[in-house]
Symmetry: C2
Subunit: 275 residues, 2 copies
């Protein structure tokens, strides 16, 4: 690792990386930033394409990360940087002294569907309809990965997957879970043509309780916007409208909590079905 480091915020690499704090820059460069030793370690372990790491030479690098880096010495450019440089590239109040650039992994939805179909296994998908809060989106992805969801599809109107708050809230799940950005009505139509079942979470009068729903071997669950719920186009395509009962006077549940209750119920029912 370099001992001489970058000290100027005018350094061309720093200027380029700084553009990744905005969606426009991330889309132009096809890359995004992550910060914190734990997230960088998770990215490396999960096989994400980490290109550059900037670290605070004055602090000891996290031991687990240093070990993990040993396995990736050739691919990753590791550069010492000053506090000012790291602060410029950080979005958090207490920068952790390490920032990394990661290439976006572009997977093909068509290929993923074909591969999964070839295995003949059950599938559980989560379709997100205009989830706009970054913390919610990140927490939903963290939960989906934990629950063994096979893939997540982000419809139009979702917050950018590579937004720093989203990435941090995923706690690394972003690097392990297949996530696609696709128009949801198209995905729903394709899913149903292939025999998949579509459950749509909504407080519609015809909806049934989540624990009474029929979770088929191929199930996709749609979770909607924090305020407006699921779009009409998806409600119209539902095989079943489902809801989580509200026993108090609350108007709704937080979107990430609702997603967690749904996917764990689905997982339980799918396990019972297979056992």
């Amino acid at each position: 690792m370099a001992q001489e480091g970058i000290t100027s915020v005018q350094n061309p690499l720093v200027k380029r990386l700084h553009q990744l704090l905005e969606r426009k820059g991330r889309e132009a460069q096809g890359r995004f930033l992550i910060e914190g030793a734990h997230l960088v370690e998770e990215a490396l372990k999960s096989g994400a394409e980490v290109t550059t790491i900037l670290y605070d030479a004055e602090r000891d690098m996290d031991a687990a990360l240093r070990r993990e880096l040993g396995n990736h010495a050739r691919e990753v450019q590791v550069v010492a940087a000053s506090d000012a440089v790291l602060a410029k590239l950080s979005e958090t109040k207490s920068p952790q002294g390490i920032v990394a650039e990661v290439k976006r992994a572009e997977r093909s939805w068509a290929e993923w569907m074909q591969e999964r179909e070839a295995t003949g296994d059950g599938k559980l998908l989560l379709l997100l309809d205009e989830i706009q809060d970054p913390g919610n989106l990140g927490t939903i992805l963290r939960t989906a990965e934990a629950a063994g969801v096979d893939a997540v599809v982000l419809g139009k109107g979702c917050v950018d997957l590579y937004n720093g708050k989203v990435v941090r809230a995923t706690m690394g799940a972003l690097f392990r879970l297949p996530v696609f950005s696709r128009p949801l009505p198209e995905v729903a139509d394709e899913w149903k043509e292939r025999g998949g079942r579509l459950l749509v979470s909504t407080l519609h009068e015809k909806s049934i309780s989540y624990d009474a729903a029929d979770y088929a071997q191929q199930t996709a669950i749609v979770i909607g916007n924090e305020g407006r719920g699921v779009s009409r186009a998806m409600v119209d395509r539902a095989d079943q409208l489902v809801h989580i009962p509200i026993y108090g006077r609350a108007e709704s549940l937080n979107a990430a909590v609702a997603a967690g209750i749904f996917v764990y119920e689905a997982k339980k029912k799918l396990k019972d079905r297979l056992s």
Copy 2:
């Protein structure tokens, strides 16, 4: 309502209310601040003691709130204020032009327990052990109220219930749900003495899956700190250690998501038991 309003941030009322943005001020005065028309409306509807409302005279007051205020005209002081005054009392990026002062409702835990015992009904409690993130705490309270949890107890080390972020994340559940601050080991001992069952969420090797746990008619569920989990004192007191299985490579679930999955499972089992 006054048409002449407060325009100086040096106004004594404004200076006093400003102290409520800090925990110290809230504790000294026994009051807290809420912002946004919806939250103020919820506070009034729920019978919370709203003492003062400052509103932006340049904006139309939310119609539902105006109607609700009609029922409380005598108790509540309603004062117009300038943008600068409202901004000084707001913690959000986009102030909604309305701020209210609310008295903390101090309920007696002993009385609540006695009342509940007298009814002979089942009880579901949620005990929170050092939940430190304000968004998590607020979302847990929102979820608990929705799930029909009877009361929540905050142990030592939890973030202040009246922190602005907590209050906003509750979406008004704070005004409807009995919440107590008590040392959890004492509450646990008392609960068990009275025949209640204590389930503790932890990834301990002896823990069983949340859906296999025995949810008795009197059940208290303990959820622990975001990083360290539940304290040893509570693990030692558990009747059953329970966990939510992780099917992916995630290390844990978000505390609010975990709480949601637990309380909805408990509610379902308690309903089945009673039906």
